[in-house]
Symmetry: C2
Subunit: 195 residues, 2 copies
DNA sequence: GTAGGGGGTTAGCGGTGACTAACCGGATGA
DNA sequence: TCATCCGGTTAGTCACCGCTAACCCCCTAC
């Protein structure tokens, strides 16, 4: 068995190919607007072959969204772990989210739009991960700007997610400029005028 | 004919009731996730009775989205017409959008998520209206902050829409506080530190 | 050389969803 | 009084969609 004992990232496995294609389609047409055959033909196989890799269409969405939420939470925690000044931590966190959104527009779109199409247990899991990610932001914001009330910080976090995640809907600047712009806007929106 | 010759806003007509209910459902479950029977029973009638009021399910979505786009464009133009200082005009425009989003969370959600489910002609129409609304914002932003390049202003407009439209996803503050917070954040994100 | 299994195929089933057909009751205006 | 029509009903059609069944080909390991 030449290529085995290594479930690591070699080349994109079939599963990953499928998830990527499905994300693109879900983002464009919505979960129910995409057929199993559409996903299949997007990766060059046709229709029911997908069931060799996933138990159901729901399972694809579930795996996709939990993966995203875990990447965001883990990445966020890592950024916060590397302790620097409160404001620098906030900036790191913003930058991290901006990078993720710019590099994974389809995933961001699916996460925003298709949470409601998850299975109940999947939704619970994803909601939990998202809640922890929001709490991370709340803490970081309140550390950087101590005057902020907790509900306000939560509302700000959601608003900034909306700002950053709007990225897939506008492709006017190149990646670097877009990253800088979004980061600057998010920070300006989070820390009151004058810093 | 007692009540006629007045297509004006009396009490919510059946059509309007239906559109409101449909908007709520589309926002929650997505266009394809909602059945004709769901919409019907949401207004107390059942199933195919809807076809006395709309030609098709697509037509409902089409009418809904063009109406939203027209309200936004008209309202925006009205705000800009009442000429004040450039910065006050921008603030008015922001406030207008914030109010609309807070008062019509379902509509905002549908407009954000279900543009892709429109018929081709409907999508063209809505896209056109949206484009003009964005251009309005671009002009107002560039008048208030002349240093802004046009593509940057466009990207900023989209980002601020994302910020404001995130409203349906967070209900942590009461309406007034939320309006103030979103307005402040949007303005901070649009006009560079120090004004 | 061959057994086994991973990954693909096509055919078909059952359910559901948009829409139509056919019918109906009651308010209205001549 | 009665024709009309508006807005509702239920039954039914047809397409499509998720998923299973049954089959098959190759690649690998013994």
């Amino acid at each position: 068995m030449p290529p085995a004992a290594e479930p690591v990232a070699d080349k994109p496995s079939r599963r990953e190919q499928i998830l990527a294609a499905a994300a693109e389609l879900f983002a464009r047409h919505g979960f129910h607007g995409v057929g199993i055959d559409d996903i299949g033909s997007a990766v060059g196989i046709s229709g029911p072959a997908l069931y060799r890799h996933f138990r159901s269409k729901d399972a694809m969405l579930g795996e996709m969204l939990t993966a995203i939420s875990e990447v965001l939470l883990d990445g966020g925690q890592a950024r916060v772990g590397a302790a620097r000044s409160p404001h620098d931590t906030l900036e790191d966190l913003v930058r991290f989210h901006v990078d993720f959104a710019l590099d994974n527009p389809a995933l961001i779109t699916v996460q925003e739009r298709n949470l409601g199409n998850l299975t109940d247990p999947d939704r619970r899991k994803v909601r939990g991960l998202q809640r922890r990610y929001v709490e991370l932001w709340v803490e970081v914001v309140r550390t950087a700007v101590p005057a902020t009330e907790e509900p306000t910080a939560r509302a700000q976090a959601h608003a900034v997610f909306g700002l950053i995640n709007s990225t897939p809907h506008s492709r006017h600047l190149d990646r670097a400029q877009m990253a800088d712009l979004l980061t600057a806007m998010a920070l300006a929106a989070l820390v009151p005028a004058r810093a």
